[in-house]
Symmetry: C2
């Protein structure tokens, strides 16, 4: 596996970006052999800058829902681009898309479109405060809701005031949520919740029904807004807001990543309970009204409604989970596979510093399967059973390789440093 | 001029958006006859949803720099889209684009890419605090730097803490800037400045050289970061940071809107003086690493370097300004044309509630020229002298029409309400 081009690009990037690639697509906290740059993507596959091909279980960290370069979505986007994209006002597709999303998402009466998931979560926070006239926002400890100063997980340059009145509770814990609501007194504006527990570096956990219902009841009692942050999981669990699976409807839900199959658009959906607050705030962006991503979203959502994409992904996910379980077991590894099968996370038993997971991930990469050692992954509709067979076969060989190298494994230097800094806090 | 389709879309939008179109492309604060939705754009022209055609002097509020649907830029974008857009990592074009921008912008040693102008300004603020370890950010009163809670001009849902340690000074005033820096004591993190004064609802003003130099000197003395917010004016004044025209180099500059000719990308550029701070913060977005807008930007920037786009726009702007001056004078109007000729603003003498400007703008619209009554406009490279002749001829007829209707003009209801609310503050 050559990697000259990637190494060269990394060297160049280090000069003209502050310290190489930043943000969630940086490989700084990934195994050494992971490529940073990709030259091509199609369907379920990805090619790095050196031409190596991978079955991509990250799906661009979510946006790739139907397959890279889906021809149906690309055709809709291209048709709109020949008419207009960013113009002096929105195109009719903006109304059509809002009607489509309001029609698909049970709790939603209205929509706002933006560019980043963080735009949507920040608007949700602001609208909750505008709607209620109150200040306190409850967020589950460890949950990711974006990268603005009020929510970024690495708060360099953030001042305490940026997070004023942001309070925490433990996800899935009725007791902790009740205590936080009680502590908020008469000043509770909103409760944020992810669809399930999908924090990095730790096992994923399904949504607890009592917790979800209690969150709704507490918002009803206090007048606060219930916000489900569906940016990461939206339309990968159901063709509606993810909490609709348990029959609990939020006042606001945030969307992004996948609903235009990779075209840049995110959304905030809301019920009439939050409409006045939403109408009162000022939020905007240079490209928020651009028509091409909206046309792509309309076509993506049509495909979601008209095809078995979801059942297909779940079928593949079940198959992959069973196959990996068997392969791990056969090789004497305790592989913890958590989360919905179509958004899996793979962590190893007895691997506190992730050295086993990193080694296994590198062994998978070498065999043409791109997996992530500490962040949930994503399946897409373009994957097939033979892709899953490829992943399972790669996994068997990778388990064997790691078993042979087990005693010589070392932790990743930067990750180890990060963990020890956290432990010292 | 039919407007059935636009009216129908507005009615539908009112249901499925919180209160119709939000943000800077909402027509709520524009004359009644202005269309909200556009079905098509090409070159310098725009068609509304009812098929009416306009010479578009707003250029999508900036993004349209070369002309809508520029075939060179669209070809570069399409070629990249066939390879990949949002992937699990960036494409090589990310490095190429960073090298290109660092090569063009004299003060820049590195680049970060994002989606909204507000992403770039917010990162600049956060980096300034990370770099200096200090808190106070100075912003000119009335300047627009985006729509996040720390900077949005309409602060519904914003709490005082969101703006903690944001202090104000008067643009172009050395005395006011010195007083604000002095008041910041040992806690100054940054001074924000726009390239020139381009606030809405008021005459634009050129940059005062003493003020620019003093801002630089004060940052050098205190260790604070000087930030030029070039989101609106970037590459419309010069092929470099706008303050390069006066020889003053910031530490950070923010870019957006136009450098990919309408494809969604913004950027933060910085010098080595701010590199450590930039490397330390965490900021990211689902689509920040997408390759298509980067490929579009590379081609746009090539065109900016290789063609006379800027000189062409300035020539047209001079011609338009002279023609409008004459037409206004001939009809007895005092038309105040301010700002760079390629980013003009038209306000009327003796028009405190904008009723004359609104009536004239409507009269222009009726004649196929889209002008804005209180926000600076933008020329683009696709415009021609005959387009300017069209605008000047329309203006002559519009002045005549307004003169005839003068005594019966009424102010715009919502704008009047906004002004009286501000006056009461």
């Amino acid at each position: 596996m050559r990697s000259d081009m990637d190494q060269d690009l990394k060297r160049r990037a280090k000069k003209v970006l502050p310290d190489g690639v930043y943000g969630h697509e940086s490989t700084k906290l990934l195994p050494e052999s992971y490529p940073q740059f990709f030259s091509r993507a199609k369907g379920a596959y990805l090619w790095d800058a050196d031409g190596n091909k991978y079955l991509d279980l990250m799906c661009a960290y979510g946006p790739n829902l139907l397959g890279y370069g889906d021809e149906r979505v690309d055709a809709a986007a291209l048709a709109q681009s020949k008419l207009g994209d960013a113009m002096t006002g929105p195109a009719p597709v903006m109304v059509e898309l809002a009607e489509t999303m309001v029609g698909m998402v049970a709790h939603a009466d209205w929509a706002m479109f933006c560019k980043n998931g963080t735009d949507a979560t920040t608007m949700a926070k602001t609208i909750a405060r505008a709607q209620t006239g109150k200040r306190i926002i409850l967020v589950a400890t460890g949950a990711y809701h974006g990268a603005m100063p009020w929510c970024t997980p690495l708060p360099a340059g953030v001042i305490p005031e940026d997070r004023a009145h942001i309070q925490h509770y433990d996800y899935n814990s009725v007791e902790s949520l009740e205590a936080a609501v009680s502590a908020a007194g008469d000043d509770l504006a909103a409760i944020f919740a992810t669809p399930f527990k999908h924090d990095a570096f730790t096992d994923q956990a399904a949504l607890d029904l009592d917790y979800a219902r209690r969150a709704r009841a507490l918002c009803d009692q206090t007048g606060a807004m219930l916000i489900v942050d569906d940016v990461r999981a939206g339309f990968r669990l159901t063709r509606d807001c993810s909490w609709e699976l348990v029959g609990v409807r939020p006042d606001l839900s945030t969307w992004g990543k996948s609903f235009a199959n990779g075209y840049p658009i995110s959304a905030l959906l809301g019920s009439d309970r939050a409409r006045d607050g939403a109408a009162s705030i000022y939020a905007t962006g240079s490209f928020w009204f651009a028509a091409v991503p909206m046309a792509a979203a309309i076509e993506t959502l049509r495909i979601l409604r008209d095809t078995e994409y979801l059942e297909h992904m779940i079928g593949l996910g079940d198959y992959l989970r069973a196959g990996l379980h068997q392969a791990a077991h056969d090789n004497g590894f305790g592989l913890r596979q958590t989360g919905p099968v179509q958004m899996p996370l793979f962590l190893f038993e007895d691997d506190p510093d992730f050295r086993v997971g990193f080694a296994w991930s590198e062994a998978m990469l070498k065999r043409g399967v791109y997996v992530h050692p500490w962040h949930n992954m994503f399946l897409c509709d373009a994957m097939t059973q033979s892709d899953m067979d490829l992943a399972i076969a790669a996994a068997s060989a990778a388990f064997q390789e790691v078993r042979e190298r087990y005693s010589s494994l070392q932790p990743h230097a930067l990750l180890a440093q990060m963990f020890s800094a956290r432990a010292a806090e």
